[in-house]
């Protein structure tokens, strides 16, 4: 029985034709990716492009069913495509690469797709694809799992919440001083061993100074900061021992890390007024060789075992070091590096009276390991592929009239299943008006030929944009990818440079803002530079986006709810220092738009306001998100 018949009865002849002619992009061929690939192949999408950077690892095999033992170290994308050939009826195109690599995957490459499925494992790539989906108005189905928990969220640009409309948890950070001087939990010692000690010994350059200008020391104690800096320099000495490959000198490393440095810490008395003092190792502990017990990965062992394990593993890494071009990265699946971090962390824990941890536990903490199982991935991938039929409006008997009628899905914690909740299915929310990614600014794509990039002067570029969208004279232009100010009323140093000279290029995103209006201002616009060599010379085509006038924030807002939403979510462009090279560095919080509470002296700052209340929000977002010169399938 031919397979198509089944599907045709589900969605009907017309929809089936549409499905067969549509192209989708699957980002990630890992846990959810394997399941999704199978599901969308069996749903018979016409064309499926698969991007994945990774290669296959043994610990993938408990869920990524397309991969076999023999495939370990092979690229995921191409292996997955080979594995599905026998049941495949779609055109499959694999890529081994990073989806965020603009040279391999320029913006116009994404334009060919009708829908994107995210099956990613990291926040940065999720944010990136979300942004792409917003710039191109491409529907995106976002998903993720952790153990028994999973979620699936369709994102229809302009119509429903985007990935950034709600705050996402970011990785926890610790003050330098907790890690370097006053650890109190196992994680502090693990971070010390992995991010600091391991990197200094095996993964850093042999010279150079730690850039400490922007460090969060977590202390104002000058004596302590001085000590931390000095300690860093001394670590270069330790690295020399590694380079010497002289195993007999390993006790020197132990002596330095676990006796001398601890004694120096003890000398800073005010650190220990309310804390228990650490107890350094003794010389005899370091110099008394013990037989290394090959302990199981889930037991802890004694301090003496930890020390001898440390000596052995350091020797092993020492031997590997020159063979690997003097650079070994920590990798949770590289048993040697894990062992080093585990023993070093445990010795430090012992010194600071912190419980030691097993290698198994340390692996989870150091490797940021998220539990993963096939069943949750199957559930989430099933829900994702299913909803795509409704996002593309292919179900005649369940037509999608409003995208906010669609549902996302969260699997509840497994232990709650008996409490009448397997899955929660909130309806999609409209975009958050204060979302810096999808709602705070207008958005569009500038198509540029590379000759234009090399020829066009900044001043001409500014004029072009100003006139196209009717901005007033006083504007500011920002390189949004790194918060560089390129132009404003009292900063015109770069005017005569060309776009490429000021480091704008393919993938740059610029933010153009009205700095003039008092009560009403032109909404800011974010423009993506899509440089395409196939374009004819001298192309610089600006998108047809309607940029509305909005109320400036100095006029009182009448809408209470709006006011409430505004708190702490404003985009603030703050200049605080003019660099020597004529480029101004703005407040930078890990590349994200900063939320700044206090005005900085001499700075020019005005939050971009929420939209004007008389313009209905739906209408506005619709206008914003429809770049007319792209061949995007109409969603409505």
């Amino acid at each position: 029985m031919p397979r198509e018949t089944s599907l045709v009865t589900i969605i009907g002849e017309d929809s089936y034709k549409k499905l067969r002619s549509s192209r989708c992009l699957l980002v990630g061929a890992g846990g959810i990716g394997s399941e999704l690939l199978k599901d969308i192949i069996l749903m018979e999408f016409g064309e499926i492009h698969i991007v994945d950077l990774d290669t296959i690892d043994l610990s993938n095999l408990n869920r990524q069913f397309l991969f076999r033992q023999k495939d370990i170290k092979q690229p995921k994308s191409t292996t997955a495509v080979k594995a599905v050939q026998h049941f495949n009826n779609s055109k499959l195109v694999p890529y081994q690469g990073n989806v965020m690599d603009i040279s391999t995957f320029p913006l116009h490459w994404f334009e060919q797709f009708d829908i994107i499925f995210n099956a990613l494992d990291n926040l940065a790539a999720r944010r990136y694809v979300n942004k792409i989906s917003q710039f191109l108005s491409l529907p995106l189905i976002e998903s993720g799992t952790a153990g028994f928990d999973g979620y699936m969220q369709p994102i229809i640009p302009g119509k429903t919440e985007c990935f950034e409309c709600t705050k996402k948890e970011t990785p926890k950070t610790f003050p330098v001083c907790t890690i370097r001087s006053t650890p109190s939990q196992p994680i502090h010692c693990i971070v010390w061993a992995k991010n600091f000690l391991f990197n200094q010994l095996f993964a850093s350059e042999t010279s150079g100074n730690e850039d400490d200008n922007d460090q969060d020391w977590g202390t104002d104690d000058a004596e302590e900061i001085k000590r931390i800096k000095q300690e860093t320099n001394e670590l270069y000495e330790l690295q020399k021992i590694i380079i010497s490959r002289d195993a007999s000198r390993i006790p020197e490393i132990l002596n330095k890390l676990f006796i001398q440095d601890i004694n120096k810490l003890l000398a800073i008395e005010n650190l220990w007024k309310t804390r228990t003092k650490p107890v350094p190792l003794s010389d005899s502990q370091i110099n008394t060789p013990t037989k290394t017990a090959q302990s199981a990965s889930n037991s802890v062992g004694t301090i003496q075992e930890q020390i001898s394990n440390f000596i052995n593993i350091t020797q092993k890494l020492m031997d590997r070091y020159p063979k690997e071009q003097n650079h070994i990265e920590f990798d949770k699946d590289d048993a040697d590096t894990l062992e080093f971090v585990a023993t070093a962390a445990n010795i430090r824990s012992h010194i600071f009276n912190i419980p030691m941890k097993s290698v198994f536990d340390i692996k989870q903490i150091a490797g940021n390991i998220i539990p993963a199982i096939a069943t949750t991935n199957a559930i989430v991938a099933g829900a994702s592929s299913l909803i795509s039929l409704r996002v593309l409006n292919l179900l005649k008997y369940a037509p999608t009239t409003k995208y906010t009628d669609l549902n996302m899905a969260f699997t509840a914690k497994a232990s709650n299943l008996s409490q009448n909740r397997y899955l929660s299915n909130p309806k999609l929310a409209p975009p958050n008006k204060n979302c810096p990614v999808c709602s705070k600014v207008c958005r569009g794509v500038i198509k540029l030929s590379s000759d234009c990039l090399n020829k066009m002067k900044l001043s001409d570029f500014v004029v072009l944009i100003r006139e196209k969208y009717s901005y007033p004279q006083d504007i500011s232009l920002l390189d949004a990818s790194n918060q560089r100010l390129l132009f404003d009323y009292d900063f015109e140093d770069l005017n005569d440079r060309t776009l490429s000279e000021i480091n704008l290029g393919n993938g740059s995103i610029i933010l153009f803002s009205d700095e003039e209006g008092d009560t009403m201002i032109r909404k800011a616009i974010e423009l993506f530079l899509d440089v395409d060599d196939e374009l004819p010379c001298n192309t610089c085509s600006l998108p047809d986006v309607e940029v509305p006038l909005i109320k400036a924030n100095n006029s009182p807002s009448k809408n209470e709810e709006e006011e409430k939403n505004e708190k702490g979510a404003d985009v603030v462009a703050t200049t605080n220092s003019h660099g020597k090279d004529g480029i101004v560095i703005l407040d930078d919080d890990e590349g994200e738009i900063t939320i700044d509470a206090e005005p900085i002296n001499g700075s020019k700052k005005r939050p971009v306001d929420t939209e004007i209340s008389e313009a209905p929000s739906n209408k506005r977002t619709k206008l914003v998100n429809e770049p007319t010169n792209s061949d995007i399938v109409e969603l409505d």
Partner: protein, 462 residues
């Protein structure tokens, strides 16, 4: 074990070992659901599979596994034991060994007689029959129905918010001595800031008791007393992190007992008569044995109840020294409690595997009990749930309609099977099987319904 590293973190080595040793029987025709179930079982580490086949004239839907055994083998970490039999013939063998299976999964059974026969066999075997997960999918809808034959005990429920077993209201003598070593009237704020918040809370409770409060403690009372004993040190005390924690966790002192009330009820309702000899699953037998042992210990000592201290202490603001001393106290007491359990077991000549004993004692508050349903496999035929009714109708009495038009309340129920919904159910039903086999996490009790049009779902008890 490296292969299972990511899932070991959910159910531990013991759970994974149970999976690796378990045998699962899957019953039904060759459907996408069946292959999804097989795939997910083998990925989880199950290495013995039996397929009781139902021959089907038309193959429904698309399959990616061409030959089940050959295609499943590479997914397993060790040699896959695989067996195929005809369901009809198997049901007619009175000697067929059903007890060797850890779980039986029924997928898309369309014949009512097969269901009746299996139900009869199950009835005859009494409690000695594996849990049955019956699942069916039609169009965008489906159900999973769990039928237990014996009481299922969950060893570790892994609740969302971990409740620590602190014994604030009934501290043991060593803990009381420890609390008494801190004299708040004779210390400065710097010393105060190094005291764990649980000590502060215990001091509050002690004061309330001294002041003649014998009833239930309220949060307001706690907060008031906390200020009474802390503020004399100076007003700045309110900025100390341990004071802030004490305020935040004051509610811990208000619950009747540190350990869950649920557990007390469970224990109270447990009778020796529950203790049959016919246990299908040794874990259930062992967990029950341990629970009854706790009852015995309480009885022997004339105590109301005995609950082994789990012995884990949450992270808290404190000097390392104070924290380590407190932690040691909890560890020592937990060890002692465990040895009391071991001794009592030995006296009554009962044996329980060491791993189960360890997990039981260190996660005592997470034990759960799920009773077999009053109804049986046929329970699905007599419910008032409209969706289940409609699904059962399609399952046993109707041919799927060819048209996509739908007139009744469940849009897209009578269309051909949708692969995505099958994949969803393949994941969900195996997830339940894993919970049953590992005795980690609470399984569905006992009916789960899903609507793929809007992702809604519900669980009911029938």
């Amino acid at each position: 074990m490296e292969r299972y590293d990511r899932q070991l973190r959910l159910w531990g080595a013991l759970g994974q070992d149970s999976l690796n040793r378990s045998r699962v029987c899957v019953v039904g025709p060759a459907t996408p659901l069946l292959q999804e179930v097989f795939k997910n079982l083998v990925l989880a580490g199950i290495s013995s599979l039996t397929w009781l086949k139902v021959e089907c004239a038309v193959q429904s839907g698309s399959l990616f596994l061409a030959e089940l055994k050959k295609d499943l083998e590479p997914l397993a970490s060790k040699q896959l034991e695989y067996e195929e039999n005809d369901l009809r013939k198997t049901l007619q063998q009175p000697q067929y060994d059903w007890t060797r299976f850890s779980v039986v999964i029924l997928t898309c059974i369309g014949e009512q007689t097969a269901m009746l026969d299996l139900n009869e066999i199950r009835r005859q075997r009494g409690t000695k029959f594996p849990p049955v997960l019956n699942t069916f999918v039609s169009g965008f809808y489906g159900y999973i129905y769990l039928v237990l034959s014996e009481t299922h005990f969950v060893l570790q429920a892994h609740p969302d918010s971990k409740k620590y077993d602190l014994r604030l209201q009934n501290p043991w003598p060593e803990l009381i001595n420890y609390v008494d070593t801190f004299d708040l009237s004779k210390m400065d704020i710097a010393t105060f800031s190094g005291i764990p918040y649980t000590v502060l809370l215990m001091k509050c409770i002690a004061k309330l008791e001294r002041d003649g409060n014998n009833g239930r403690i309220t949060i307001d009372q706690m907060k008031k007393v906390l200020d009474q004993i802390c503020l004399p040190l100076g007003n700045d005390v309110i900025y100390e992190p341990n004071y802030v924690e004490a305020k935040r966790y004051a509610y811990l002192a208000c619950s009747q007992n540190d350990c869950c009330k649920e557990l007390e009820d469970l224990l109270r309702n447990l009778e020796i008569s529950d203790y049959g000899n016919d246990w299908h699953d040794t874990y259930n037998y062992e967990i029950l044995t341990l629970l009854l042992t706790l009852k015995n210990i309480a009885k022997e000592n004339g105590e109301l109840s005995f609950q082994p201290l789990t012995g884990t202490l949450p992270d808290m603001e404190s000097t390392t020294e104070n924290y380590i001393r407190l932690k040691k106290l909890y560890e020592v007491k937990a060890k002692l409690d465990k040895s009391r359990v071991e001794e009592s077991l030995a006296r009554s000549k009962k044996k329980v595997s060491q791993d189960v004993l360890e997990t039981f004692c260190s996660h005592y508050g997470e034990v759960r009990k799920i009773l077999p349903p009053k109804s049986d496999l046929l329970g699905i035929f007599s419910t008032s749930n409209a969706l289940l009714d409609a699904l059962v109708m399609v399952q046993f009495w109707e041919q799927p309609a060819v048209t996509a038009e739908d007139k009744d309340e469940f849009i897209g129920l009578r269309v051909d099977d949708n692969y995505s919904v099958m994949a969803f159910f393949g994941g969900a039903v195996v997830q339940e099987a894993i919970k049953l086999i590992t005795h980690h996490y609470v399984p569905i009790d006992n009916l789960f319904l899903y609507n793929g049009i809007n992702n809604s779902s519900a669980t009911y008890k029938i």
